[in-house]
Amino acid sequence: MIYDIIIVGSGPTGVASALGFVENGIRPLILDVGYEPENAEVMNENLFDYRKNHNSFRLMIGEDYEALHNLIYKKTIFPKLISPYMRFVIRNAEKFSPADENGFMVIQSFAMGGLANAWGASLYRAMDDELRYTPLKSSDLLPYYDRLTEEIGISGDEDDLTPFYGSTKGLLPPLGLSKKCSILYSRYKKKKRWLNDHGVYMGKPRLCVLSKDYDNRPGYRPDGLESWFPHLPYVYTPVYTLQKLIKQDKVIYHKSVLVKFWTRERDYLVVHAEDINSGSMHKFQCKKLVLAGGTINTAKIVLNTKKDFTTKLPIFDNGLAQVPLIFPFFIGRKFETDTMGFESLDIVFDFHDRNLRLKGSILELNFPLRSVFYDMLPFSGRTNLVFIKYFLPAVLVVLLYFPSSIENAGYLRLRDNGTLEVYSQPYKFDKEVIKMVSRVFCKLGALTHPLLIKFAQPGFAIHYAGTLPMVENPVKDYQCNKFGELYKEPNVYVVDGSLFSYIPAKNFSFTLMANAMRIADHISGMLKSNEEGIN
């Protein structure tokens, strides 16, 4: 059988492109490894309340001691993946796609829904200046942003960040704020004129967390589960859309296969994939192939197809700094067990004179496994526990994102033994900018200092991009045209982060999804016009 479309991967871009094809009346085949949660148990009560009365070893550490991963192994995984219930997200990633990391942290997922199972849930539209290096304008993506907003259910607000986050069309009301965030926001409003004059703006994030019941899914309830369990109905992940499409028989989902490469036969493509259970190879034929395996895995499939073990493709990630904000009068305060595990407030630093725009996601330190903070404290065992108990309730953390581009890219190369070599220099953070950021937070009444700020290794933000850039007129291998079609590889389309040679200082997933849907629309149009031509 020759399929019209084969999509590789079921992450945000794979599912968004599938939705685009379905809405054009095309039934794509999705090839995926497709790991799912091994334990579907979901609690019905507040996680902290439960732990007050029950032994939570199995829940918090896991029967196989999964939560101790970061302590025992040298390869660190980010906090949300510590949960035993989230471990399926990265299951066998190192086996299927081994990587030699040299200064660049590689995290891959072969789960249904990909890394979005553990995402930070923030979804932002891109402004025109944030689509630099691409042949796109934000107006090209507008209808797809609107359609996806309707599909996903995004909460947000019309506020000072609207000029940076774009249209508020279709947004659900914003989610509530914790006490510290409320104080910070009210101080911002009082000092707004001075802050705005210095290019600082604050407002509500755009989150795919439902603030009210929507599309047969319940609104958010403060139960502390969002950092620990996957597939909570009030947090959107692409799995919801995918499962809906599978149920409606509008896509064919073939799981347990790992796509390796493609070949060509006459006028169609043959996708070669390994059955992960038996190890046998399978062939799938299609007219058009859509690569949505994520920046790293897509690059690997392309390089493997070309048997190219020398080319170094560019790769980069957002720079990320973690800024603690201390509110001294909250020392000794009761821990708020009903705050949200996602960002509550956003802050944008728009430094015109430096042509630099940063975005900070402001979060409560309410991660349910409190022991993870033990490692970050410098005191004796018992004193660390005292600080976890009395001091952490007085702290917010800002994840401060820096824009990144092909200019500070490292590289990715496929070795002939199948291992990826991923290299990056440490990112350079402008000390003056860091000082300015600290000053702004002090102006807002929160204590911080540049020396307290931690800078993450490249790759830690997991906003990978740049390997197969989209340009107006591709002239060389590994470039794609405006519709993601690979140079000299007709009918092979890339729809994920690989296409972008610049990523702004904010989560780019929503833009990647909208772009994937735009490309699906374009391909559908071509398929239809070909059929009409034949008829």
Partner: protein, 129 residues
């Protein structure tokens, strides 16, 4: 060996006897991690468990002096395991509003940690760990 380790480390962190469930969990994870360390590191660790009474002091000093990595790791593991017991919940989560209690506790703990650090350094030097 693992039993006495669990007892001493738990006591050093939580100041109570180690519950049986934690002891079992600690033994299982200890068997898995010991092979990550070389024999010299394990020997020094065993010596410290057998000879030193104040493990809290030893651990904080060892952390600063980049010594006894196995002791540091086992302390951390015990902190994680200990958090799963409902009786330890109040040691991690503050359930009452009191700036005064919080401030005094932090202040006292900082002084205590300084004392433990100095004591730990002396222990390491004297015992040649």
């Amino acid at each position: 060996m693992y039993e006495s380790e669990a007892e001493k480390i738990y006591k050093a962190i939580f100041d109570t006897e180690v519950p049986e469930s934690i002891q079992k969990q600690f033994n299982i994870i200890s068997e898995r991690i010991d092979f990550l360390f070389n024999s010299e590191e394990i020997k020094k660790y065993n010596k410290s468990i057998l000879q030193i009474h104040d493990l809290e002091a030893l651990e904080v000093a060892a952390r600063y002096m980049k010594k006894l990595p196995l002791l540091t790791l086992k302390f951390k593991i015990m902190v994680y395991l200990g958090e799963t017991l409902p009786e330890n919940y109040p040691k991690y989560i503050n359930e009452n509003d009191s700036f005064f209690t919080g401030f005094i506790s932090l202040f006292y703990s900082l002084i205590r940690t300084s004392y433990k650090l100095v004591k730990g350094i002396i222990l390491i030097v004297i015992n040649r760990l």
